[in-house]
């Protein structure tokens, strides 16, 4: 009898346990589950914004790269991290981990957008267009930002032959690396065409106000940047004009009011939220100092830059001295929203474009320029191209537009010509290695 009990018990044990192997993750969901429902796809869209606002993308590093590449001896990278230093010195190694991770994160967001766009039919009718518009906006924006870093500038010419990016518009599903992922790099022109196509497609679909999500006006603002790079001044002017005229944004009365805010400012066209619980602020991390919880003040502003300002310029007053060097006051505090596109830039773009085209769409160049100088506490300056560009440089200092402007204006920086290979990131070594021989390295690497 006892023997029987033991043997029966053993058999129960043997047969009863196999179900115990059905274990599911508790912090993750299967991909198949994500794109089935309206709510999940909207969550994925929010995920795309989360990636976009991450440190390696617009959470600060992309802006930092622009300023370091375009340092022009006006700022110094004094930090210990070698990767930003390589960028600052224009001697970037192909294994630079920042270069690698920015690339990866960019395509990560693009893949989310590709998934959303492909499965857009599963979004409720009412919101379908808006969601699709948002996804197209993010995809276009990232392709543009990546092209600015990883490809020769539009101004370098040969846009039909210079290499742009690998354009991937299909989602990655079921773990499959498809032929789409092994396409050769498009030309610079094709890359810009993709950016413009996405943004133009997004514009009529996207909804909402200016702020932390894409809107019709953030699409236009990005388009104005794209056209400016292409020296399409009419396009840049019209998009900027649209933003100024219709977005409802207005300049903050004080220049300092545009920064270090705990909510979008009145002049933010597109802004990334940073709070104690959410968001990343790498600009604070690298520009600010220990006293504000950052590192040791990796980026120093040099006297050469300070000398560009007139006394009494409010923009000059925003700099502060910390650890013995000038620091940008724009990125002083950590949990503060990061402006990506401000209305002030739109005024400057419209002024420049109108000036170049000899038009006065929306306002005269002098009127637009006045808006900027007046707010900075300066008396009006003549609306010459040089003055417009000079004010643009001061107004947008340390905001991640420097190298783009230098390149399109064909200005050399730190002894490198605007179209120098050194001012372009290498394709990350890991991508070349994983690229099945198709992904070509940039010239000069």
């Amino acid at each position: 009898m006892k023997n029987l009990i033991i043997i029966t018990g053993f058999i129960i044990l043997i047969t009863g346990c196999s179900k115990q192997l059905e274990v599911n993750p508790l912090q993750s969901v299967d991909e198949s589950f994500v794109f089935k429902t309206d709510a999940n796809i909207k969550a994925a869209l929010n995920g795309a914004y989360d990636v976009l606002s991450g440190g390696y993308l617009l959470g600060g590093d992309m802006q930092l790269y622009s300023e370091l590449l375009g340092a022009n001896d006006e700022i110094t990278w004094a930090g210990t991290y070698q990767q930003p230093r390589e960028i600052y010195q224009k001697a970037i190694l192909t294994n630079n981990s920042y270069v690698r991770d920015t690339y990866l994160q960019g395509y990560r967001a693009i893949n989310i957008c590709n998934n959303i766009i492909t499965n857009i039919e599963n979004v409720n009718d009412a919101d379908r267009d808006a969601v699709k518009g948002q996804a197209l906006f993010i995809r276009g924006l990232i392709y543009f930002e990546l092209a600015e870093l990883y490809a020769l500038p539009y101004s370098a010419g040969n846009v039909a032959t210079n290499m742009g990016l690998q354009i991937v518009t299909t989602p990655t599903v079921n773990g499959e690396v498809t032929d789409m992922n092994k396409v050769p790099r498009s030309s610079v022109k094709e890359t810009y065409d993709q950016v413009i196509a996405d943004l133009i497609a997004a514009k009529p679909l996207i909804q909402g106000e200016v702020g932390v999500l894409g809107s019709e006006f953030s699409v236009s603002a990005v388009l104005s940047r794209v056209y400016l790079q292409m020296a399409n001044y009419a396009g840049a002017r019209d998009e900027a004009n649209l933003v100024i005229a219709n977005s409802g944004a207005s300049l903050e009365s004080n220049y300092a009011g545009a920064f270090n805010n705990m909510a979008p400012s009145s002049e933010d066209i597109f802004v990334l939220p940073v709070t104690a619980q959410d968001g990343t602020n790498d600009l604070w991390l690298f520009f600010s100092i220990k006293a504000y919880g950052a590192r040791s003040g990796d980026v120093r502003i040099k006297q050469k830059h300070i000398d560009l300002y007139n006394l009494g310029d409010e923009r000059l007053a925003l700099f502060y001295v910390g650890n013995g060097f000038y620091r940008s006051g724009k990125w002083q505090l950590q949990y503060r929203y990061l402006p990506i596109i401000r209305l002030a830039e739109m005024y400057l773009t419209r002024a420049e474009s109108n000036f170049r085209l000899g038009t006065s769409v929306g306002a005269t160049p002098a009127q637009d320029l006045n808006k900027i100088t007046q707010r900075a506490g300066l008396s009006p300056v003549p609306a010459t191209l040089a003055n417009i560009l000079y004010q643009r440089r001061l107004e947008l200092a340390d905001e991640g537009q420097r190298i783009q402007d230098a390149k399109r204006l064909m200005q050399s920086t730190d002894g490198f010509a605007f179209d120098a290979n050194e001012l372009v990131f290498p394709i990350p070594l890991r991508e070349v290695n994983a690229g099945a021989g198709v992904l070509k390295q940039n010239p000069g690497y």
Partner: protein, 1014 residues
Amino acid sequence: MRKILFFLLLIFLLPGISAVAQKTISGKISDAKTEEAIPNASIIVKGTNLGTSSNENGSFSIKVPDGRSVLVVTSLGYQNKEVTVNGEVADIALSASETKNLDEVVVVGFGTKIKKDLTGNIAKVKGSDVRYMPVTNLDQALQGRAAGVFVEANNGKVGDGVKVLIRGSGSISASNSPLYVIDGVPISTNSYSGGPISDINFNDVESFDILKDASAAAIYGSRAANGVVLITTKKGKSGKTSFQVNTTYGANRPTHLRGFLNAKEYVDLLREAAINSDNIDGVDPTDPAQYPDSWLEYAEGSLTDYSGWSDWRKLETNTNWEKKAFNYDAKTAGIDVSASGGTDKTKFYISLGYVNQDGILIGNRLKRYSSRINLDQYVSDKFRIGLNLSLTQTQTGRVQVDNEFSTPMQIVALSPVTPFRDLDGNLYNEPTTTYSNPYVDYADGKYNAIIYRNIGNVYGQYNFNSSLFFRTEFGVDIQNQNDDQFYGATTTYGSGTNGYGESDWFRSITYNTNNYFNFKKTLNEVHDIDAVLGMSFQNYNSAYANVFGEQFPTQQLQRLASAGLIKGGTSTETNSAFLSYFARANYKFDDKYLLSVSGRVDGSSVFGNDRRYGFFPAVSAGWILSQEKFLANSDVLSFLKLRGSWGLTGNADGFGDFASRGLWDGASYNGTGGLIPTQLANPDLRWEKSNQVDIGLDFGFLRNRISGEIDVYNRKTNDLIYNVPVPGNTGYATKTVNIGSMENRGLEIVLNTDNVIVKNFRWSTNLNLAFNKNKLTRLDGDQTLLAGNDGRYLNSLIVGESIGIFYGPKFAGVDPENGDGLYYKEDGKSTTNDYNEAGNFVVGNPNPKLIGGFNNTFNYKGFEVSVLFQGVFGNQIMNGAGGFMSASFDAFDNQTKDQLKRWQKKGDVTNVPQLRLGGGNGISASSRYIEDGDYVRLKNATIAYNLPGSLISRLKLTSLRVYVTGVNLLTFTNYGGWDPEVNTDYRAGNRNQGSDFYAAPQIRNISAGLNIGF
């Protein structure tokens, strides 16, 4: 029920009943030749279950019922002896066994075996060999003691990780650690921080049996690809309760200091570096007109900043920051108390342990309280139940991983011109110190971890008859950990936020059950059969939660309740499970021919439905040649056995619980939840399988005074799991796939000799050597190279080379013309100063070619000396911090002394490039920062004295032993870093080996101890 009551009654009454009709025999057991006392000899009254064992001093005392007078005395390594005792005193001398170690009982999975009959390879380390060794982690105690078992502590942090590799690395991404099984419970090696093996008090351990080849390990199937360490804790023996008390006390020091520039050298070289950089820019900074904005101005300005109140021009300060990283008062203290004993029905072992070891680093310490109770009860002749249970509390003062600014060792980067304190007595910090000062983090911060660990099982065993039993075991391993961190407003983490606090909670629960039948029978006196059939199930669960915050109102309030701003928190949980069925049959014919066959089916929740189950068979055979007629009469050869085994084992650990799935995780943007992709799917993901062949020879000569083992093996792992890089444009960086194969071939030699055995003196030697060659034989077929140059390290995967081989630029020395650091181009001959133009070469191998241990023990009367040397040969180490600390003053980090040999003028021939501030001259990851890592170390030496019996009995004790012992006493190496036993903790892994990055040197300890038995 009535029966049980009766038995319970019997247990309580037993001492009373026994007192009625019996006499007490006492005496001493000793070696017939050397006259040394023999401890732990078993003394049984023939024809009864009554027995006892001799104590440390060889003495015993046993109550013998009337009518009985024959004692059977057995002890490992001695011939059994039956003695008829008429009086009440019996001193018994035993003759050495001719088969010696071969009679040793070896623990195999789900059973035991006599060593002589083994067909697989199992290394046994006796608990008594490592007992009371002043280390906190049992892996470190095993270092150098078993052939083919490579033990390497990441660094000298107490309570931190230790790598154990049995017969080389078997995997790239899955776990390379052996499975640890304590009294039948496979324990969890999960932890939130620190090494979970540190929670085990190895002073309670009777034996470590390390299953190395596949046939020995295959009974653990999918868990056994990296070998199995079976840990058996001490059990009670019937007889008088014996107590052991041990106390130790000692001091800890770093094994070695690296040495950095002093203030004068720092100032001179930094200025030189600045001037060089100016000259390259065409500036002469010594010309006052050109001085402004020069590198020299920058350097001298920085020197002024760094020297605080003092004047660097007068060299008023010369701080040795390296020494500030260490605690020169570090102590070790330990107390262990145990009691064991029992009756013929009940046996127990109870212990309490306490160890308190200060790490050598400031802020690093470990304190462990442990207790154990092992209980075994015969309920009836057929039914036996028992319990093995340990409870441990481990408190650690932790320090950050090696790549954090706040880890103590990074203090070496600070400038020697910086005073330790300002004139008010406060510690200097940035910007006066070059980087944030880790001493501030120590002084104004804390990181305390407290872990409660409960490992135990209950079992029942039913004997159907003398040849068949059924055993069921239910075991748990519960870990509960709390990490409490606080960093004040002056620290790296707390600055700018008025302090930072974090509380982490981690819980890991694994439970398992083993249920098996064992059949054992001898037929016709020549056929020995021993078979096992059973199943086991194991479930792992771990959960984690944390909360962290800032803005503490005052530095006295360090709990998160006082945080002005709660920044965030999380909680996570994960599960996995294994289900297994196993069978094994051993057959022995005529004590000569051995055969063993086993099989195990394993299911793991880690894999997808179609790939869930794996089958892991093994066979092995042995031939004891010395039993054959043609060898039986040899005077020289006393034992010879040839054995061979083949087996398949699996690996499903270490790459996440859900690696086959395409996953999206929660995220947040603008305070709203989101979903982001985190893992690329691979539904085809399957078991890693390890195929091992082992051929071995066990031998004994001259009555086994010389004995040993020689094994050759070939372990091939197929279907290696690896995160293969995929094009980033997929949105992912890697995909987890079964890509490749790896091979470990090796030779192991074990040699035990009794060099001298004469009256009162014995000298024995144990030598173990293990050669291993690891080779990656296949990646995914398309790729033969996954280059690993990440800017600091070069650990790569290359087909035909060992795992983690250093592959990257080869440093070509310094251009005598201009002081540029040079690298070889792809052709291997021409050189370049442009790192991007440098070719890539295999420039080093972090895998040792040979490891070994050499132990000598001497016994003279009551004195015992044991000396263990341990060595590692043929590996290289890469200093990932070379680009900071040996970098020609690229930045302001203090530099290693070798930088004094820098290139200074045209024609200088040196390996240290010209100093250039901000010049990045030759400082990228290359062979420049690779050195040989061979070392031989006096791992452990002990001198002990056992007081003679006469004295002890007067003290009413059974033994008294005083000893001095030490760990890592001497190190012989050419490695220029802190310590050649290193693998920096922040990146330690299968592929990432042999890397140094401000890793603390190992701990050198000298302790004195006292051990009393009564």
